[in-house]
Subunit: 282 residues, 6 copies
């Protein structure tokens, strides 16, 4: 699994941090060759190794001088060494901030996802923990990749991936049936259809159309969920059921126990503490 993060994207991000040039390291002394360790100050799931390698190459470090000790998706402990970089001090200092911002953020997403997935699988090994489209602009691929490295499901990457009919969509039609028929006949055969419902009756109507692959229970109360799941599966047991809305790290387990197939949480990508990772020149 390989993401195409272009040099020109990374250079743009480097220039965001460097602007003209690093005015703190213009002296010749900063050309001294040094070694630097990148290590984690807390336990977590590492993500972003390849990206960081690319960053350091772009600021002038030779590929052979960039070593990594883990791959994306590896769990590390506090103080574990993740990478070692050798090169001119000025190069390392110039790339440091972007490298750590990326590595910290991506590892933060992966760590949070893995924690939730692990907790969920104790209760139900088949449930999927999924992200949403509530990502940070420009970072979707990196964030979705980090979700995947943490064991989560990426959900839709974009509006082109799967048809999804929400409240605002259904409102344009006289009935759910019509909305779904229309979507079914205009979409490509390669795409699935998911429909968001707000109450059990609607869930039932939608399931009965026979044209829906996934039903999302939006902001259902916990008590409503299990009966609705049973209702839908009775009609068509191939329909997957997703819940979303109002789920947080504390009430999370209750949702896992309802028997839904997928739990999606925007907070995987929009409210994430970065993993605390440092670079130290030796």
């Amino acid at each position: 699994m390989k993401i195409m993060l272009t040099d020109s994207q990374l250079v743009e991000w480097l220039k965001e941090d460097i602007h003209s040039w690093d005015i703190s390291t213009t002296d010749q002394r900063y050309k001294r060759t040094v070694s630097a360790d990148i290590f984690s100050r807390e336990a977590g799931t590492i993500c972003g190794i390849e990206v960081v390698k690319q960053v350091f190459q772009l600021v002038g470090i030779h590929p052979n001088d960039i070593q990594s000790f883990v791959i994306d998706g590896t769990d590390v402990q506090k103080s574990d060494k993740i990478m070692e970089i050798k090169g001119e001090a000025r190069h390392i200092l110039t790339g440091e901030r972007l490298a750590l911002n990326l590595l910290g953020h991506m590892s933060g997403v992966a760590t949070k996802t893995r924690n939730l997935v692990d907790r969920a699988h104790l209760l139900n090994p088949h449930v999927k923990i999924a992200g949403t489209r509530k990502t940070l602009p420009g970072l979707r691929t990196l964030q979705k990749y980090a979700i995947k490295m943490g064991g989560g499901d990426t959900h839709r990457m974009s509006l082109s991936d799967m048809v999804m009919l929400k409240e605002n969509h259904l409102a344009e039609f006289e009935s759910e049936q019509l909305a779904i028929d229309t979507a079914f006949s205009t979409k490509s055969f390669t795409h699935k259809i998911e429909v968001e419902v707000t109450n059990p009756n609607q869930a039932q109507r939608v399931a009965k159309t026979g044209k829906v692959d996934i039903i999302m229970l939006d902001n259902f109360s916990l008590e409503q969920i299990t009966p609705t799941v049973e209702l839908i599966k009775e009609i068509n047991d191939r329909i997957l059921i997703e819940v979303s809305g109002g789920i947080n790290e504390s009430n999370f387990e209750s949702y896992v126990k309802t028997g839904v197939d997928i739990i999606s949480m925007g907070a995987l990508t929009h409210t994430t503490k970065p993993l605390d990772i440092s670079l130290l020149i030796k």
Copy 2:
């Protein structure tokens, strides 16, 4: 104060979300003209209005059909209406996610900043709450702008803004004096110099060079800070003093009381819950 957020940057972000086209709104019915309200589901400081206007124009909404009821930096209450958009349903639905992701994130940063600034100013009206370079790649200008809208200080925008000598820099020289002399003689007259120190003795040595504008106390214990501040001010009362490291929302007030000039926190931009903002088609 005006940020140049280019159409092409926004279009790139739109395409990240749209990819080919929105396969859920291809039917003619989605061409119906509708009105949509954007409103906040919680109290906070709004930021990102101009950006959101630009987003909706790019998906095809006429500028005259985009109304805003607040400006960036305004505090709103739960349920307050922020904007109203009129246009084809498909256009609104296509721009919705990026618009809300930006507005929510920027308002989240502004809200967090304002809360901290307000709490700080009760104790010391002169202290500045500042961000750091721990921003999300590609979002620095937006995040720094949100800090400013929340009443915070942007700190360095890039490595070109101010000379900053940290532990890793000083390590390349025999003495702080030499490191600072070198920086002073190579930098432009337009730039200030900040030096990071890790103990009171070092703070004293650095202050005595007479060439430093700001001293940052890095990971000092709370007890060490006030005496160090006094030490420095005695040597040169024009030197500004910044603290950073280990500061969070709960221990925050203790740092304010130490008498430092600036408290900087990476978490303003790297760990921010977005403000909960929704769009509803009427």
Copy 3:
């Protein structure tokens, strides 16, 4: 349905044609305001109207001076007027070539698709005519959009859309079962799986896994197809069946009659005569 064709993409294409400036229209006389008709020299399905409008605006024509008489997907007859443009002669002459190249090509794809769809639906109104990923670099969205405007199915827009296991993929596994199990457990719940098979036995094995949404019969002889369709549908009648390979405009109807669900043809986008469209200054 709206494609985001960015101004900067179109400007790049304009500059490809203009380079420095149009050296044939530098004289003041070319500033005269003129009217130009765009009309079709043959019958066909028009596609690209919005793109052409954007092109002429970018070379300096006012939006109000660009009129269109049809929308994308409309069938026209020989000599039908499609658009009328008013503006400085030099502007019209500078945009003409790109506008016609786009309109001709997209209409060519739409026309070819519609012809095939119409012929197919006489025999089987449920069969889908689909494109492939054999598109021209940089033009995929426009070409897929043209297929859709001609009544075809877009098939995969990219490698992120649907899992597709071909001969080269299956070869990496000991069995189809293992390849499919692996794909099923790593893909997102939002994605379908399609598997390409080269003989009826393999089709049967793949169908029996119960995890496949579409089976593609690759380069099957005409005689093999119908029995294989029946074999698969007997195992699982929800599996869609696609044929590809060796299909051309003359043998096309025989494939429609086999009872497959989808016929895909690379030639929809890679070998297309443009519709003959001209611009004449009045």
Copy 4:
């Protein structure tokens, strides 16, 4: 002869095909090192070797692992091996489609051009077969390069290359003389002038101005051409004569026999069957 096809252009094309990442090859098994042959399934003229090398490097193949057995412009037979690639299966599978789309298309243009050039030169070894500006947006340089590799003449690369006055240009002036005088006095000395004429009298008037390098006979009937050629050459034998319009692969030879210097055909680039080229993992 070297075209500057930028990495960033190719990456854009790769991303068009890959979008987020290739969801079919995420499993570890696809990291196995394999060898793949690229070979032609029909006879033709190969074009695009260097571009394909660049594509495979961009997806992660080492330059030393990409071998080519022919250079651009080489004629191959059915089943001839063109290239051999060694690398991780997932890398080869990710680059395959773009590589083949480019190689097939460019070789298609080169093959068509060479066929026509060869047929023409049997009758008149001095006639040039030229392309036009009817190219596909974004692909002009590649298509013109393919024409050149097939032995054709590129004609104008852009509107900056040569002055060309067509019907729509002449219409802005009282006389051809005035139009030509104006163009002659405003153009750079580095540029030639070509004028399109629609009848023999106009050809004569244009030739007599003494300021025209090339005359294009637009949509002349076959019978008109030879006498007009003689007429022009009598006035000025240094004027080159081009024909265009209504020429196709079947009536083509008749045009060659008329004695014109240049035959230009838009179909070289706008209606081209790609050469059938495959990649097979061994």
Copy 5:
């Protein structure tokens, strides 16, 4: 004559000057609507009006609030008002520097060119004053356009415009004849050929090939030029003759008198004092 200067190019240049935002105009007072005059502090030829309009629109000024009193190519006197802009002070102040840098530079090139052209035409009304490829990176089109507005000849816009064989080219062949024959047979019929010669004998040999459109006398002494011109014209009076090398504003007239057709000077674009133009808020 219209140059396609893209918004995104100008925005890039604006961002070069603005970086994050203009920190000097963040106060609300800078939102006051003001009027500003752009006027010349010295006599000269104005060039860049359309570009400046585009710049001010991009920083937020309404097109109707940007007035110009001259067009590109107009000669102005000291103190002449060139443009008037109305808008928020902060917008005008933000765009001012780029606008003046462009207007000053382009007018500087146009002014220098016109002075030389005027002086030359007093002595020989047919001689052309041409630029070279010694332009500033990224500014070629603007600089060549300014040359044209000043009455000069643009010469080659790029390496694709005309074949030009210099000393370094001829050195790769056994004889000039072979070099020229090769170039003649590989170039498109749309291109001219120019050959640089370093002595009269070589000029003669080159002229005799009959395949050369322009001969450049490179670093010839003044005395050598007239006889060489006569020599060439005798062989073929359609060959244009260019001189280059060692020509400056003081010895310039002597070269005009030699009877050459074209005098080219890199200094038109590489050593140009900008016209002194100011913006004053009223």
Copy 6:
């Protein structure tokens, strides 16, 4: 000190010069491996070595085949060899023009700066010679870097670097005091404030605010400067004093003698003769 000049920026500049391809070097003979010397035809300060290396790599020269004999900032004599390049003739010829344009221009700026700095330091070793924002669009970083290599001060890199209040800014406020108070309270603590004054009284008022780091004397007569310097230093001797306006290479020394800290000159970057540098294939 390292500037991030992106490959994609350089490729854009290469394409500006190459457009489609170099039509003069398409023959196979230009593939011969040759050596070329880059040498200076006059004495000066070299700047741009790293950039030139990057250019030649981008046209296909191997890094090991590019040798440099000096580093940026080195003074060379007439005929000194600066670099030696080995590679295919066509590659060297294709990169030559851009390489020399950059090297000549940057060295021209560095040479001019060094001359002025050297002359100034004979009279006052502490005075700084600074650039301005009057740079050429797209070339600011390169030009400022060249100033630094010549021993000058870069001054503001952009509008984000330092607050600078000029006449047009002060005009928006009732008093200088208010303008300065406003700027002081809205700017980041990382930024300095400079104020431009037009007469000694204003200088005095500004100095007394106690919030200003630098005062610029704008277009002061020579006689006014020294008394104003004394006046300011008496009020606050930490304030730096800059002069600008009307300073040229001939009256320059008089300004140095006035005792100001900084002399800034737009002409460092906007009116610069390139250093005369040539490339010769051996």
